[in-house]
Symmetry: C2
DNA sequence: GATCTAACATACAGTCTGTATGTCACGGGA
DNA sequence: TCCCGTGACATACAGACTGTATGTTAGATC
């Protein structure tokens, strides 16, 4: 028998837990969210939570993977569509991708869960593993292409990818917390673009 | 009467609490450190803690201020000495200051407390206030000087300072978590320097 | 020297996490 | 079909931790 109905139910409760936790973690942060709130919103009991996840941090890891995966997917499709419409050179793709990231990751979920609570809850190790999986990989690939194309200067890829990712993270946070988000978005985008332009082979 | 002995004792217990908390927060993180551990290391009781600080977060705020203040002071004296020895142009000062930051803030205290736990514990608001006070002010001042000197392109100062600070933070963290810290430090420094150089008036 | 207050210590209540135990439905084999 | 084993939960409990309320003492003030 293929996928039994029981298995569907199991997956459904797990998804409900992740979805409920995602809402609450994004809204109030990890520390301020009690497990009772989560399970009540998911309409199960704490037993289900501790059956599916080892502890609260394990649930957080699943939530963050979900959020990061969604963002990465949105970014990739965004980029693919753009690349089809006008096949750019790698450098323009990179440039456009940076601006897309700023638009995709303005959602509060991403900021609070991935950028703020992520490092503190999971510790540098587990957090980097997730970020590496969803973000740095893609970014490093783009950078390598632009370098081998001779469009940007040769630099160690790993630290460059990490630092540029941090730049984008902060640009996203800066935009989110500004009094005037539109102006902030424009200015942050301008700065990011200028930094990137500065890396071009002079 | 000037400073009474009693006042000295009061200040001493407060300092002892901050010092003990700083060690433990840096070692295990904010969430994993119990107040009982803190007061026992400071050789007082929890009563003293809740007399001097409104709650655990308030103590954390004091600890972070202490750590950030120390780093800022070290950075400034570092820079002053360098500026006296060879009076550079603003751009060289900026460049040198960035590298100094990477060396000063490699201490684990700073990383865990200010960069990792800070945003999560205090929330974006309170954290930015502290960072603004200790870091961005100095950085923004340097940037303004370099701009008015025509050495780097005109850009909105606030987002530029925020993004460059994030770049330095990540460079510091990248160095700390690398398997080979020496190589990482050199490469991160190289990337930072290259990014900064890219901002120069072309 | 009496009193008043600040600086603590102690005791307590509430909350939260994680675990141990119990129950029930579902699936498979005789 | 009946029985039984296992997985998917629910429930109950123990431990820990934070914050508060109350008590006590040493020093400042008059």
């Amino acid at each position: 028998m293929g996928v039994t109905r029981r298995a569907e139910h199991v997956a459904d409760t797990r998804d409900a837990l992740v979805a409920a936790a995602r809402e609450l973690f994004a809204e109030r942060g990890f520390a301020a969210t009690g497990t009772e709130e989560i399970v009540s919103r998911a309409r199960v009991t704490r037993g289900a939570l501790y059956h599916h996840f080892r502890d609260k941090k394990d649930l957080f890891r699943a939530v963050m993977a979900s959020v990061a995966g969604e963002a990465a997917e949105a970014l990739v499709t965004h980029e693919l569509r753009h690349a089809q419409e006008q096949p750019d050179e790698p450098w323009d793709q990179l440039r456009h991708g940076f601006q897309s990231f700023l638009d995709v990751c303005t959602t509060g979920d991403f900021q609070r869960i991935v950028l703020i609570d992520g490092p503190a809850v999971l510790g540098p190790g587990a957090w980097d593993a997730l970020v590496e999986e969803y973000g740095h990989g893609l970014l490093a690939e783009w950078l390598r292409r632009a370098m081998s194309n001779g469009e940007i200067d040769e630099l160690p890829v790993a630290p460059l990818a990490a630092l540029l990712a941090a730049l984008l993270s902060e640009a996203s946070l800066y935009t989110a917390r500004a009094d005037d988000p539109d102006t902030a978005r424009r200015e942050a985008g301008q700065v990011v673009d200028r930094v990137l332009a500065g890396l071009r082979r002079g």
